[in-house]
Symmetry: C2
Subunit: 222 residues, 2 copies
């Protein structure tokens, strides 16, 4: 599945370049191919030759565009955490009520894990493949992200809006169910991303024992 075929290369030495504008996209094409392969085969099982083949060049040619295989992984993983955190900050800022803040946070979390399932999947599976200092950077952001959920739930509990035995376990539950989405969701399945986000928002509010906001009662307590 992975390595080059020994001798006998079929491609001509110098294929007519399809389009000139491709050059600028080369790097992002490599990143996309790497992401797809890391998700499908794992980082360690993906070779530079595989990534090259996915965009029609040889493995060593990749080094004209990227510094190393590890750099590709590190970029994916750090970028993922940055986007998750940015999404969470925006979600919390978009509402005043703690229930609504939690709902929006969960919806953003689910949306990301559905829309960027490969990034999220790789981001969760390959932490151990990261070398330092990239690993510490990713783990640090991951802690920040978790803390944001935990503190939101603690605040909701302090205000009497939520009722939980442990904010830590409630936050882990909610985060982990989102992470799971990245391993089974696929576009065109039973649910759209929006439906998914909404349903998980409901579930999260149940998990924290949210009291109804305004008029509409929680489905559990009507």
């Amino acid at each position: 599945m992975s390595s080059a075929q020994g001798g006998a290369y079929e491609r001509p030495h110098r294929p007519a370049r399809p389009e000139a504008a491709l050059a600028a996209n080369r790097r992002s094409a490599i990143r996309q191919a790497a992401l797809r392969l890391f998700a499908a085969q794992g980082y360690r099982s993906t070779t530079m030759a595989d990534i090259g083949a996915a965009i029609g060049i040889r493995g060593p040619s990749l080094y004209k565009h990227v510094a190393s295989k590890h750099e590709l992984l590190a970029e994916i993983m750090i970028g993922t955490m940055e986007q998750l955190i940015a999404g969470n900050i925006a979600a919390v800022a978009g509402a005043d009520d703690v229930r609504e803040q939690l709902r929006r946070s969960v919806e953003a979390h689910i949306r990301y894990h559905a829309r960027h399932r490969l990034e999220a999947f790789v981001g969760n599976r390959e932490i151990g493949s990261l070398e330092q200092p990239a690993q510490d950077r990713v783990l640090g952001r991951r802690s920040d992200y978790e803390r944001r959920f935990r503190e939101l739930i603690e605040r909701g509990a302090a205000e009497g809006a939520f009722r939980v035995q442990s904010a830590r376990i409630a936050s882990y539950s909610i985060l982990d169910m989102g992470i799971g989405v990245s391993s089974w969701f696929h576009e065109g399945g039973e649910f759209t991303v929006d439906q998914l986000a909404y349903q998980y928002g409901d579930i999260a509010l149940r998990v924290v024992g949210a009291r109804p906001l305004g008029g509409s009662p929680d489905p559990l307590c009507e």
Copy 2:
């Protein structure tokens, strides 16, 4: 971190055998060491030399006890799924009410993921490292396990005990929060296994919108 050190071996060629009874335990010691290393470093990054070193022998000597590295992984993963399914069957058989069946199923799920966190962790991360037919066997059992939860929730909903928008999503949520436990739980932390199982049981009942069983109301609805 992994390979042998070139030349210069310090151990004598024939160490006095510590105890005769060790021989019988050799195979399980190897399995345990492999499990620990697979969890810590990943299957691909763990070498036979690593596993051997963990029990004080050389890599090639392992082949006197096991057929291949892959066999070690396959045993761990198939065994894990068998135990999860057996635990679920026992949990469901232990109660008549569907709420109680769900609670016991979730408690068994959580207990397994806390007590056998390495097995569960490896079992979830290394599916792609399994070769056929082992991979299909594991995936088949995994589907069975998921279906058992889904059908239990569907039954509860049909009986009016649960209220969910999608039994599939509810079951995935519950399973995924348990899987998450295997990545953060450690003995001696904030919670005991029993406390964890009980709390997750509560959370699962909230997720499915369970109506109170008998006298005691759900904490959310009192």
